[in-house]
C-alpha cells in the first residue's frame, strides 16, 4: 500500500541533476516519476522508482545521501471535485499534506497523485474506509 520515495538534497546548480540520472542509468534503474522542489540555494529531488532498493544502493554507493520516505499513490477520478473529496477527508482527520505531485502514468478517466502526508498510516485507514482507491506498488508499476 505504502510506496517508497527516494529524495536527495542537491545544489541548485548545473550538473547536479545530471549526476543523479547518470548514476541511475549506469545501474539500469528506471525512474517512474520525479519532482524537483527548488529554492535559491538547493533543490530537493524526489524520485519514485519501482526497484527503489537498487536505486538507493546505486546512489549511496556513489556517495550521495538519500532519504527514504513513505508516500501514498492515490487514484483520483477525473471529475470536478475529485481531488477535493480526498483533501476534505484528510482535513477532517487533521492529516497534513506535506506535498503532492502527479504520477506520470495516468489515464483519461483517472489521475494518480503521489501524496506525502504527516501521518501515512492513519491516512491509509481513513482513505480506505471512505473507499478511496489507493494503488499498491504492483498496480502502479504495471505496464499497460
Amino acid at each position: 500500500m505504502k510506496l517508497k520515495q527516494l529524495s536527495l538534497v542537491i545544489p541548485n546548480e548545473p550538473g547536479a541533476l545530471v549526476r543523479v540520472c547518470e548514476v541511475l542509468k549506469k545501474n539500469s534503474v528506471n525512474i517512474s516519476t520525479l519532482t524537483l522542489a527548488d529554492t535559491a540555494n538547493f533543490g530537493i529531488l524526489r524520485l519514485i522508482i519501482q526497484e527503489w532498493e537498487e536505486g538507493l544502493k546505486a546512489l549511496e554507493d556513489d556517495g550521495l545521501v538519500v532519504k527514504v520516505s513513505d508516500v501514498l499513490a492515490i487514484s483520483i477520478p477525473h471529475v470536478p471535485g475529485g481531488l477535493l473529496k480526498i483533501l476534505e477527508l484528510l482535513n477532517e482527520n487533521r492529516i497534513n499534506v506535506e506535498y503532492m505531485y502527479g504520477f506520470s502514468l495516468s489515464t483519461r478517466e483517472r489521475s494518480v497523485q503521489i501524496f506525502r502526508l504527516d501521518d501515512t498510516d492513519r491516512a491509509i485507514e481513513v482513505l480506505e474506509q471512505a473507499e478511496v482507491y489507493l494503488l499498491d506498488p504492483d498496480e502502479l508499476f504495471q505496464k499497460e
Binding site: L8, V9, I10, T39, F42, I44, G63, V65, K67, S69
Partner: protein
C-alpha cells in the same frame, strides 16, 4: 610514578626533575647556538643584527636574547640554505607544502632521525602502546613528515606497522578489520571520514580491535574527540609537531588526555605574546615558539609556530615531569577577520558539532560582494539530518546559522552540500578559502 605503562628505558628523560632538565637544556642550547652561528650564515646575520654572540647564552632564560625565525626564512633560503651540515651528512629531506609557490625543505642527519624515532617511541609509550600493538599509519608517505615519521617511530617501538599511507578509504577499513589493527595514526578529519565510510560499509567500528587513535597534523577540538570516542572504542590522542622542528612527535598526549607533553630535552618551548614578542610565564596563552636542542643538520632557533597555546608546568597524573601544551585549536594564521571580527575555524566547528546528528565536514568560503564581506559555510549533509521537505532543510540551515551566530558573533550563509563535494585531503585539510579581492580595480 603513577603510570601503569610499562617503563621503557628510552622514556627516562620524561621523568627528569625540572632543575636537572634545565641544566641539560642549557648545555644543548649553547651547543646548537654556537653551531648555528658558525655554520649557518643566515642565523649569524640575524644574531649580528641584534648584536648577540653565542657567549651571551649562559642560562636558559638567555634564549630570549636570540632572534626569532619564521616560515618565510625557510622559503627565502630554499632549498638548503638553513642546513648546518654538508649534504653528505644529510640522510633525508622532507618538504611541506607552503601556501604559495615553493615548498619549505627540512633536512636530517642520522642522529636527527634517531632523535625523531626516540620521541615518537616515548609518545607512543606514554599513550599506553607497546610491542604487541598493530599500528596502521594512514598519514601520507612521502615528502610529508607524517607518514615516515610515525612509521619509523612505531617500528622502533617494536610494534607491527601497517604502512597504509593515505587514501583508499575502503582498503583502510578492510586492513583495520582483517589485520587486527589496534592503533591508527592519521588526521582527525580523515578518521571521521573513515567512521562515516565504515558505517556505510556496514562495519561497526566499536567491534574492531582498534583501541587508540593518534591524531595530528591539523588543529582539532574537544568536540571532535568526543565525537570520535562516541563512535568507536578508541582513546583519541593528540600528537603535535611540525616539519620545521622535526615532524610529528614534538609533543604528544599521554593516556591522561590532559595536554600534550613536550619532549623538552629536544625541543625548548616558549610562549610569547604574538604582537610584542615578549616571553610569557607558564600558564599564559600565547604563540608557541620552539628551539631545537638536538637537531644537527638543520637547527631552528626560536621558531614561531603560529600555534596558540599555553604551557602547563604542573605535574601530570601520569608522573611525567615534561611540561604540557594545552590543546591547540587555533593558529594565529588560519584565523580570519570578517567584518572586524576575528574568527577561528575551530569556533565554526564547535558550532556545527553542537547540533545533534553532528556535521563534522565543512568548508569556509569568504567573499566580498559590493564591498561587503560574506561568510559562507558549506556543510556536508548526512542521512540522519537529510529531509525530503524544503521546510525541513531550511529549518536545519537556520538552526546551524543561529548556533554559529551565537558562537562566532556574525551571520553566516549556510549551504548544505552532498558528501565528498568538499575537498578532503589525506594531509592537512584546507578549511578556509578566502575569495575576497581586497584591492578591487574600480
Amino acid at each position: 610514578m603513577a603510570s601503569k605503562t610499562v617503563f621503557n628505558p628510552i622514556s627516562a628523560p620524561d621523568y627528569l626533575p625540572q632543575e636537572q632538565l634545565k641544566e641539560l637544556q642549557v648545555i644543548r642550547l649553547r651547543q646548537r647556538v654556537s653551531e648555528a652561528y658558525e655554520k649557518v650564515p643566515f642565523f649569524r646575520a640575524k644574531m649580528e643584527a641584534l648584536k648577540v654572540v653565542p657567549g651571551d647564552i649562559q642560562k636558559i632564560e638567555d634564549i630570549a636574547k636570540l632572534p626569532f625565525s619564521v616560515k618565510k626564512d625557510l622559503r627565502d633560503t630554499y632549498p638548503f640554505g638553513l642546513f648546518a651540515e654538508p649534504m653528505n651528512r644529510v640522510v633525508r629531506v622532507h618538504a611541506s607544502s607552503g601556501t604559495t609557490g615553493k615548498p619549505i625543505v627540512v633536512g636530517y642527519n642520522q642522529r636527527d632521525i634517531d632523535v625523531w624515532k626516540e620521541v615518537i617511541v616515548r609518545g607512543l609509550v606514554s599513550a599506553g602502546l607497546g610491542p604487541d600493538d598493530v599500528i596502521q599509519v594512514s598519514y601520507g608517505y612521502g615528502l610529508f613528515t607524517g607518514g615516515l615519521g610515525l612509521h619509523y617511530g612505531a617500528e622502533a617501538l617494536g610494534a607491527t606497522v601497517v604502512p597504509a599511507s593515505g587514501g583508499n578509504t575502503h582498503r583502510q577499513i578492510m586492513l583495520m578489520k582483517d589485520f587486527g589493527v589496534t592503533a591508527i595514526c592519521c588526521t582527525p578529519s580523515y578518521f571521521i571520514h573513515l567512521i562515516d565510510k565504515a558505517q556505510s560499509m556496514g562495519v561497526d567500528m566499536k567491534t574492531l580491535s582498534l583501541r587508540f587513535g593518534i591524531f595530528g597534523a591539523e588543529p582539532w577540538t574537544q568536540e571532535m574527540r568526543r565525537y570520535i570516542e562516541a563512535h568507536t572504542a578508541i582513546k583519541a590522542l593528540d600528537i603535535y609537531g611540525l616539519s620545521e622542528i622535526i615532524g610529528p612527535g614534538v609533543a604528544m598526549e599521554c593516556a591522561a588526555q590532559d595536554g600534550s607533553h613536550i619532549f623538552e630535552d629536544h625541543f625548548y618551548p616558549e610562549i610569547i605574546n604574538p604582537d610584542t614578542g615578549e616571553v610569557l610565564p607558564d600558564g599564559e596563552e600565547g604563540e608557541l615558539v620552539l628551539t631545537t636542542l638536538s637537531k644537527e643538520a638543520m637547527p631552528m632557533i626560536r621558531y614561531r609556530t603560529r600555534d596558540i597555546t599555553s604551557l602547563n608546568s604542573e605535574r601530570c597524573s601520569c608522573g611525567r615531569t615534561l611540561r604540557r601544551i594545552k590543546r591547540i585549536t587555533s593558529r594565529s594564521d588560519d584565523m580570519f577577520i570578517i567584518r572586524g571580527v576575528n574568527v577561528f575555524p575551530s569556533q565554526i566547528e564547535t558550532a556545527l558539532l553542537s547540533i545533534e546528528g553532528t556535521l563534522p565536514h565543512y568548508q569556509i568560503i569568504l567573499r566580498r560582494e559590493n564591498n561587503l564581506d560574506t561568510l559562507e559555510v558549506q556543510v556536508e549533509i548526512n542521512a540522519q539530518l537529510a529531509s525530503d521537505t524544503v521546510s525541513g532543510i531550511t529549518a536545519l540551515e537556520k538552526r546551524i546559522a543561529k548556533n554559529l551566530e551565537q558562537i562566532v558573533g556574525i551571520h553566516a550563509i549556510i549551504k548544505l552540500v552532498q558528501p565528498e563535494t568538499l575537498q578532503r585531503s589525506e594531509g592537512k585539510i584546507q578549511r578556509v578559502s578566502d575569495l575576497r579581492n581586497l584591492n578591487p580595480i574600480s
